[in-house]
Subunit: 210 residues, 2 copies
DNA sequence: GTAATAATGTGAAGAATATCACATAGATAG
DNA sequence: CTATCTATGTGATATTCTTCACATTATTAC
């Protein structure tokens, strides 16, 4: 599928295009031009065409893109035409909220394991039916349940040690909500979600104009 | 303070540097070189120097950077040497978790208002002492309480209408957790936090290698 | 006071990314 | 079947961002 080196920015935008296209689909829009899609996504029309061009030709000249087709094409490009199993590590405020949050399921992700160290929490059942395991069991359980992606929602202080265990358990993808830079081997891909960084950026813009 | 046009990426990295420096400060490290700091932040040493060079000279040649000084300098650069008032809109799973999450307070941000539309929630008191207002009162309340930044944690469907009201209330900075692209006038700066985009990026990497 | 050392600050080179502009090709109407 | 129209796909161009490499300058030791 992939022949050239694809910019990370392209991958992220594809995700945004897909989101917008799925909304259009719900509104029963059949066909859309790069120009209109670009406006809705807040990007340049040529950007969309270039992004897609990395992977093939998906439009019809003089017409535009068939919305439902393009959604499926992007899903295939991103590897989303299959289920991905998630494990949540850390069931404090944030972890618990995320696991109950509908967006993961809506996009085809499935929680198959959840971990914490608090004896009060271990053994408890979550609304989605999962039972919380102790972090000590992490390595075994994620192998057993074929977890593909680990989500770290622990305090910053435990994040690195959890990441180490995830790697030992064979995980190659980590979504990290802890506000630290975690170190992993090259085989493992980490994405960070850090909202205080975003807040700082807003503070900067408010202070010194755009 | 700002003379050239600063890359957004630089601003985000300054935030990361600051975070790491604050940790170093707790470990009582006095001085650090760009090389060592770079390793801890996962960037190139020249990058750090260039980023800082946009704003002035903060290091000592042959020695490095005084950690506590640099933290303060970056705070000033980002406009963090003052309090910022936040309003949370939407107190579902995510909004409630975020407002209880210590990281905002830790970095000097203060919640001064909270809103929801659910009559069950309006009037209730949050653990931090705030009383939940109805979204109808949004415009007035945020003016009254001098809110600077609005955090949208509503479902996607309400995000745009909330954003409109925030703008009407004079807000120029929005942190958006809803998975939609919201449209605002140029005077208002929006940052999006969208973890499904990050998850999609991980899925892509797992599918087609790095 | 001088030399050696070390790590900054920065101009220049390089890489990556985004935008422009137009040739191309599918669709539709006459 | 031909002409017209429209929006894609893409080579060329422009821009933005990152890395290199080294001259510069504070510090320390002799």
């Amino acid at each position: 599928m992939k022949f050239a080196k694809i910019p990370m920015a392209t991958i992220n935008r594809l995700s945004i295009y897909m989101r917008t296209l799925q909304e259009l689909l719900e509104d029963e829009v059949d066909v859309i031009s790069s120009e209109r899609l670009a406006k809705q996504c807040g990007v340049n029309p040529a950007q969309i065409r270039k992004d897609l061009a990395y992977f093939g030709e998906f439009g019809v000249r003089g017409v535009g893109y068939r919305v439902s087709d393009l959604v499926n094409q992007i899903k295939e490009i991103l590897g989303l035409n299959r289920p991905w199993n998630l494990a949540m590590i850390g069931l404090g405020n944030l972890g618990s909220a995320l696991i109950r949050h509908g967006n993961f399921v809506k996009h085809g992700y499935i929680f198959t394991a959840a971990f914490d160290t608090d004896p009060q929490k271990v053994g408890k059942r979550l609304p989605n039916g999962l039972t919380i395991n102790h972090v000590e069991e992490l390595e075994d359980v994620i192998k057993e349940r074929e977890v593909h992606i680990g989500i770290i929602a622990t305090p910053a202080s435990s994040a690195q040690s959890v990441a180490n265990q995830l790697v030992l358990g064979g995980i190659n993808g980590i979504l990290n909500f802890a506000p630290v830079q975690i170190q992993v081997p090259d085989c493992c891909h980490v994405e960070n979600v850090d909202f205080t960084i975003k807040l700082d950026a807003i503070a900067y813009h408010l202070s010194f104009g755009s």
